[in-house]
Subunit: 199 residues, 2 copies
DNA sequence: TCATTTCATTGACCTACATCAATAGAATTT
DNA sequence: AAATTCTATTGATGTAGGTCAATGAAATGA
């Protein structure tokens, strides 16, 4: 937390989008964070473990997915720099996680532990507000995603994703993008071919 | 708020699931609510209007839906007694609503207005916690719903819905259930026929 | 460096679900 | 009580997207 290049700045900037902290509070908040480094392909969380942390990505790129009975992976979330990721169900309930979270690149995160999280909310109630806002944004985004499945074709979902997050195609393997969209890699490949032709 | 039969009890019970209020706080909270009665088919919110309220259902049954370019309705949420419903995006941002909300039966709701909501959170910060928990539950439910579209067939979604909310089939027309599941009424009808045969 | 695994693409064929049209029973309205 | 909507169901047919198998290119590892 010394230089302006510190990764703490990125999480503080994220917090500052919604609530205003005093210098003291910033310091306290940062003191509750632990740094976690992951190698590419390393798991952050595996199904069945209890998720004791929520995390904020400062470097790299992760994916959260669910493995169904046939062993297929279904990606529910990507997280790049500046995103929060975790298995919130498990984090809040203490039940075993249903999600697996894995680094797609060497990554660095901040983690906050469930206990410290509760104490943080108690000591600095502004954080109740912060997480409420975070969640309400997530809620709205999720609603849009459900809608995109009810309303649109796979191609529309692909085009939406591409225009909203152009960086994904550079950093994320196509088969993972297919899984996020809810189609097979084969079908994504065909869509891409057809779109390229039309252009 | 006088008798134990008052509809205030149902919203207070809902709040009490997550936070503990003093008698004073209960009184204040209830004083910020307004009662809204709707006839069957009446709109609570129409696309393009700004949603100034969030609401809690004490009686009846509503649906929130999105209308796509071809005029098709896609249902994103049902709400029966004891549920919260609204267009949260519009409520928090002040932007025009993308959802339409309509009563499917004569219904009664409590509404809280955006301004009063902000003041409530300021005066009784426990409500930050309450809405955060409400949202995190919604978040988890939404994630499951996205997953059900990525992973499962329409039949699985139908069976899930039926076992989770058996009362829906008594109260909600099949064509709305079809819309919620993301299939046509025709296809839902065929699924039901086939399931009935197998039994 | 060669060997091995992983990845994206293509082709052939299959299935879950959509669309459109017709009908009959319910529910509303007159 | 008749007339007029809605609603659920069925049949015929069309299509988006899945499955399985094969191939070459790229990444990974010894």
């Amino acid at each position: 937390m010394k230089s302006s290049l510190s990764p703490y700045n990125s999480i503080l900037a994220n917090v500052a989008k919604h609530i205003l902290l005093t210098a003291e509070e910033k310091k306290y908040f940062c003191s509750q964070l632990r740094v976690k480094k992951l190698r590419k392909r390393q798991y952050l969380l595996q199904t069945g473990d209890v998720s004791r942390f929520e995390q904020f990505v400062t470097k790299g790129c992760l994916r959260a997915y669910y493995v169904d009975e046939q062993g297929h992976e279904r990606i529910v979330q990507f997280a790049l720099e500046g995103w929060w990721i975790g298995d919130m169900g498990s984090f809040f309930s203490g039940q075993p996680a249903t999600l697996t979270i894995e680094a797609m690149e060497d990554s660095e995160l901040f983690q906050i532990e469930r206990n410290d999280f509760d104490i943080l909310l108690e000591k600095v109630p502004k954080f109740e507000r912060f997480f409420r806002i975070l969640l309400s944004n997530a809620h709205i985004a999720h609603q849009r995603r459900v809608l995109s499945h009810l309303t649109g074709s796979a191609q529309e979902r692909y085009l939406d994703l591409r225009s909203k997050y152009p960086s994904f195609e550079q950093r994320i393997p196509l088969r993972h993008i297919a899984s996020y969209l809810g189609v097979t890699p084969e079908f994504l490949s065909r869509m891409r071919k057809q779109l390229a032709k039309k252009k």
